[in-house]
């Protein structure tokens, strides 16, 4: 195994909230199969809260565990709270990630952010710092083909 923490292994072996949400309020997709990792996050929003979060993930053990922990971390949170989740927080929550897998924690946070942005734009919700900015380019470490 890559030197994954027990927490990573738990989430990999039993990922929470896997799936798609039909008629999701927001969808965020990030990554690229060419690079080895790809995540699609689905959110259901009610009263400015993430009522439901689901995802589908193609990728390594870390990518799957990151998706699972991110979904846990933000479910039930307000959108603003959810947006404060950083890659570092994700990695910490997983009790660390191997150095060459750190980019997976970026992907998780970015996919969620994209889903929220997608919701905000499609539901015409103004979210300063999100709807008025360009998304940063996708993390490049994942893909050096």
């Amino acid at each position: 195994m890559p030197v994954y923490s027990e927490k990573v292994m738990q989430h990999f072996m039993n990922p929470h909230n896997v799936g798609e949400i039909e008629n999701a309020d927001g969808v965020g997709e990030i990554g690229n199969p060419v690079c080895g990792d790809m995540m699609t996050f689905y959110i259901k929003v009610k009263d400015n809260r993430l009522e439901d979060v689901k995802y589908k993930t193609f990728g390594c053990g870390a990518a799957i565990a990151v998706s699972s922990i991110v979904s846990d971390m933000v479910k039930g949170k307000t959108l603003e709270e959810a947006l404060t989740v950083t890659p570092a927080m994700v990695a910490k929550e997983l009790e660390g990630l191997p150095k060459n897998k750190l980019h997976c924690s970026n992907l998780g946070a970015q996919a969620l952010r994209k889903a929220i942005k997608n919701y905000a734009l499609s539901h015409k919700v103004d979210m300063p710092g999100l709807t008025d900015t360009e998304e940063p380019e996708e993390d490049e470490h994942a893909c050096e083909t």
Binding site: M1, P2, F12, M13, P15, V18, G19, E20, E29, P33, V34, C35, G36, D37, M38, M39, T40, K56, T57, F58, G59, C60, G61, A63, I64, N100, H141, A142, C143, E144, T145
Partner: protein
Amino acid sequence: MRKVYMDNVAATPLWPEVREAMLPFLGEVFGNPQSLHAWGDGARDALEQAREQVAALIGGTAEEIIFTSSGTEANNMAVKGLARAKADQGKHIVISAIEHFSIMNSARTLQKEGFEVSMVPVDGFGVVSPDEVLKHVRNDTVLVSIMHANGEVGTIEPVAEIAGRLGRDGPVLHTDAVASSGNIPVDVRELGVHALSLAGNQFNGPRGGAALWVKRGVRMLPLMDGGIQEGGRRPGTEDVPAIVGLGKAAEMAATTLTARMQKLSALRHSLIDGVLGKVEHSILTGHPLQRLPGYASFCIKFIEGESILMLLNSHGIAAASGSACTSRALKASHVLLAMGVDHEAAQGSMLFTLGIDTNQEDVDYVVEKLPQVVDRLRQMSPLYSKFLKEQRG
């Protein structure tokens, strides 16, 4: 839980006979072969016996064997040492696009020293065509290095044909036979090569025991400088236990070769049939027939190799993958890409390498578990759901 080890390309268990042969050299027989006393005598005799055994495996002579610490070292010594020794006659070398990193990156180092490197492409089965090799050879080509068998898909290359086409006056021809030696017949005279690398840990010998065979009369600069061991071509105190183990493994490999090839080919067929039959959207990689007996390699679409390996491991199964995520450098296998496999499919590459302890129940177990693992990962794969939607819609 059942334990099924199908990663013999990464590491092989020692033959019990090899282990037995090595043990005295971790005990009383600890001398240095260069020493002028009884302890040295014991070590030197063992060293020279191992040299004979290794030579016998590949049809060379004992004086032509240089012991090294690994296949990587043998390959570095060959590519750099053979090319540098002829740098005054030309600075061009030819390798294939699917060589091991120890050849690829040695060539890159030569490039920095002013050599030009031509890379021969392969076909969809990973076969290097002799015609293609010939196309790349020039007047100033001093070295051609084409592997004997590929360690990622098991394809066996037409090295003897290439040698024939290069002819007597052609450039020096080296072959990386690390994956093949001990596993299929390897005869340096029949292959017609000038140098050949092999490593004991690919045929149930120990790590630390590998060798480069260099045909008598072929000049090579050493990779390391130091004392007079191995005739000055590979200095450093000889790793006698590992070399003794390599020698014994060579002997074991030679005597068991035919039976082992038959057994492994049959098991491999069974595994390939099982996987292709039970796992939709999977393809065999490498040549369907010209392949190492124990190698079953696939690409499994819509999912990624590391997560497959992790779930297989949870079922007690060991295998390997050439996906980007399983490599430290996060790059998909250059071998698969050179064969024309697309990046996405390469992420789902799986390599099962069967070994001396593999039996039919192991194969059946993998054929039972792999589809479950694939299903589970496809259930959470966005690529798979897209594919299904596209199919439906």
